[in-house]
Assembly symmetry: C2
Homo-oligomer: 498 residues x 2
């Protein structure tokens, strides 16, 4: 009811046919000031005759309308409905269960903490062994290089053979060393660490070191090759010139790689100039806050839903299992998003800042993925770039097809997923393996959508398929299965009675 | 894992410092074709050395990032979560209550239908009486005009007095006639119509005719004034020249106004050229489909929630009432949106098309409202333009302040709301009156936000305040109160046992 709008509408005398000039003359031919006043002030008489319906015009939601109106208000409404809906569920949950958060209830056994701590210091020892292996190889390469330079005739067939046999030896040494690290950790976690959180952290550490050592070995193999037998047209990235092979084989260089937020070894990384400690503190604050949030969400919201699902899985009541999956999907999605942000944005950025590691592209905008494949390329770039550099591209180089190389990548990834989930929960039931490996047919199905160039509709469809497969069937189903398997084997994870 | 991307990334040898020209010379100085092949095919050797971390770059969610990434995927996710969440609630509802939809269960009493039908034909009779009143006034005006023309000296003081006394007489005749229509309907509905749906429809009809007759009387008063005593500088809209006063006082002209989708009388409306029957059929199909949807939603989802809230209101358990309000808000919002679309888009457009009524601007994009005031200006334009033309602007013209005129408009509107809701439910408890009248302080509070020019943030805040006040506290609270009052007085509205 603002008077400004009112005035302009009501005094226009809204006729469709009148011409602007004519109106003015009609209003007051003699005095233009009066005429202007007649336009800017409300009509004094005949107030009830104004033609509010002065022209033919469509409703703004009609197809007759030339431009669709903005729907930004409905986006805001969606956010509010989500907040309100979940606020309601939180009240319901609190009425039903009371407060379930309890620090002392958790069953962190003394032996678990001891074993976990021991393994935390044991795993890096294998890194030291890897350093010694590379050091020996580098020594031998220095010797060969001197011999080749003395010859001045380029590498002989015998030299190449010697290089290959050295590589076989080095590869075996690395493989035995690092697989021992993984095998010992896996064995100890599976048989001697009860609490799944401690087990998962330890197993993650071992798998990361396993991957990093493989990258270290492969990269140094190629660097050594280039050092001994450079091929024309194949060159080492200029970035590495700051620290050429074998100068990079130092304990500090390897130590930096151990801590750096990447799985891919490079002798030199792009670095930032200084550490912004305020940035580090903010990120660590985020990690702390989000971890607390995840803990509360798991204990208060996810656990009861999982608990309530047990007899429904046992009785194989499909409608009820679907209902449970849908209920679980919201909370598992929220936890997943918080965990993603805490790990990939906050923690890795804090770590990178402390190490002055320059390349912070740990993820891309995976939430806009237009296909399942796009999601796997963007959500976890450390793992994606690792498998691309050390598995996919080398296999293509050996003449494998795209299909075969992709399958290998997803097979290796699926095995690692099963190790990371199945071993700490003491249930190697293959759901994590399948959940990963079945991405391949899913990518194959959704791939055409990506390439069909359907425009906005195709992109929207692809994004929706990605979210549904990810949210409704991916995370919650796997979580439900491992929780069920755990409960079937051990009963409750904590001492509290739910 | 698309090989195109892989190739380009892996072969770029990603150094930060190299210059493009230099790279080409380094690769193969002699042959540019070979050089190009080196770029487009994967590197044959040294595959594990590629610098995947080749430059300093921030994470895309960091503040360091120059541009924020798109979040369109999260909008899609919200839609999915809403659909999934409500799908879950629908399964839960079906498990708990079974199918509640039942055509024969509803208590449409024979007497209700008889009385409703009778009133449906009685109300237009008062329109005929209004026509007769205007016809008499027009006859008298024709006589005056002939007399004035004979005089040729302009209207005398006596003439003006005569006009005024005629208007007082005409106004009283109209007021008595139309208020009789409203009063009879209200009396009969309150005491003799049990079913609230039949009562509401009848009461709506009476209120609409009441408003239309008032507009008819006011507009013709001004037209008569202009016909008898034209004032220089004050003119009648050109649109009306097709049918000047008193030619517009015909039974067909009033009949068109009775049916037309507007509350504001104009002798002439903008018209379309022809009736598109396919358009009419589509709109009527929407009305039918949405009505069925609203019926199912009310019976299956809204009724159980309302039913479950009864003892919580009785016990004044505030946390539980809030929980119920939040649960009710979703379904009442969905029903409201469906009802809005069915009435304002589908029904009024169908009616307008049949009557070739040109101005279809029955609403604007109220969902983007940046304040509560903007919502009231845009969601129901027939009522808004009515009150602006016949109450707000005339009061401003009499020297009232914006504040006083607005208060009057909201007071009249609040009274009408209470009549429309309180009478058919036989509970004049004042909640509808207050719900409307308390909009004034709400508008006063949110108004500054609109004017503060806070940019996007202010608009977003305003829109969120509007939605929350509208969704969470507006509709569901009023529905809950009248349902409670009804149940307290009569027990269940239908014979079914919930």
């Amino acid at each position: 009811m603002d008077s400004a709008t009112a005035t302009s509408v009501e005094t226009s005398n809204g006729s469709v046919t009148h011409r602007p000039g004519q109106t003015l003359t009609e209003v007051e031919p003699a005095n233009s000031t009066t005429a202007q006043r007649a336009i800017t002030t409300p009509q004094r008489k005949y107030r009830h005759v104004a033609a509010v319906h002065s022209k033919v015009r469509p409703s703004c939601l009609s197809h007759d309308s030339t431009a669709a109106p903005s729907f930004i208000g409905f986006r805001n409404l969606m956010v509010i409905v989500l907040v309100a809906g979940n606020l309601r569920l939180m009240i319901e949950n609190l009425q039903k269960y009371g407060v379930l958060i309890c620090i002392r209830c958790h069953d962190y056994r003394r032996s678990d903490i001891m074993v976990g701590g021991l393994l935390y210091f044991l795993i890096p020892c294998h890194l030291f062994a890897a350093y010694l292996i590379e050091l020996a190889a580098a020594q031998q390469a220095r010797g060969s290089r001197t011999r080749i330079k003395d010859d001045d005739a380029g590498p002989s067939e015998a030299d190449k053979k010697a290089f290959h046999s050295t590589w076989v030896l080095v590869a075996w040494a690395h493989a035995i060393n690092v697989t021992l690290a993984l095998a010992i950790t896996t064995f100890v976690v599976y048989f001697h660490v009860h609490h799944p959180l401690i087990g998962t952290l330890t197993e993650f550490h071992a798998v990361i070191v396993w991957l990093k050592t493989a990258s270290y070995a492969f990269t140094n193999r190629d660097l050594r090759h280039a050092y001994l037998h450079p091929i024309k047209g194949e060159h080492i990235p200029e970035l590495y010139k700051e620290c050429p092979y074998p100068q990079n084989i130092t304990i500090s260089n390897l130590g930096y790689f151990w801590l750096a937020p990447t799985l891919v070894y490079q002798p030199v990384y792009p670095r930032t100039d200084k550490i912004r400690w305020s940035f580090v503190l903010k990120r660590l604050g985020e990690v702390f806050g989000l971890s607390a949030f995840i803990w509360v969400a798991s204990a208060q919201y996810a656990t009861p839903v999982l608990q309530n699902s047990l007899d429904k899985i046992a009785s194989l009541d499909l409608a009820s299992i679907l209902e449970r999956l849908l209920k679980l999907s919201t909370i598992s999605l929220v936890i997943w998003l918080a965990g993603f942000f805490a790990l990939f944005q906050s923690f890795l950025n804090a770590l990178a800042e402390i190490l002055r590691f320059g390349d912070r592209s740990f993820y891309d905008d995976w939430w806009n993925s237009e296909s399942v494949g796009a999601y796997w390329r963007t959500w976890n770039k450390p793992v994606y770039t690792y498998f691309k550099r050390h598995v996919y591209i080398p296999l293509l180089g050996r003449g494998w097809s795209h299909q075969a190389a992709s399958t290998t990548v997803f097979f290796v990834s699926a095995v690692l997923h099963e190790i990371l989930v199945g071993v700490p929960t003491h249930n190697i039931i293959g759901i994590a393996f399948l959940g990963m490996f079945l991405q391949l047919p899913l990518i194959a199905i959704t791939g055409p959508l990506e390439q069909m160039k359907l425009g906005q509709t195709g992109k929207l469809m692809g994004n929706i398929i990605f979210w549904v497969s990810f949210t409704v069937f991916g995370q919650p189903f796997a979580a439900l299965m491992y929780f069920y398997a755990w409960q079937a084997k051990y009963g409750s994870v904590s001492r509290q009675v739910v």
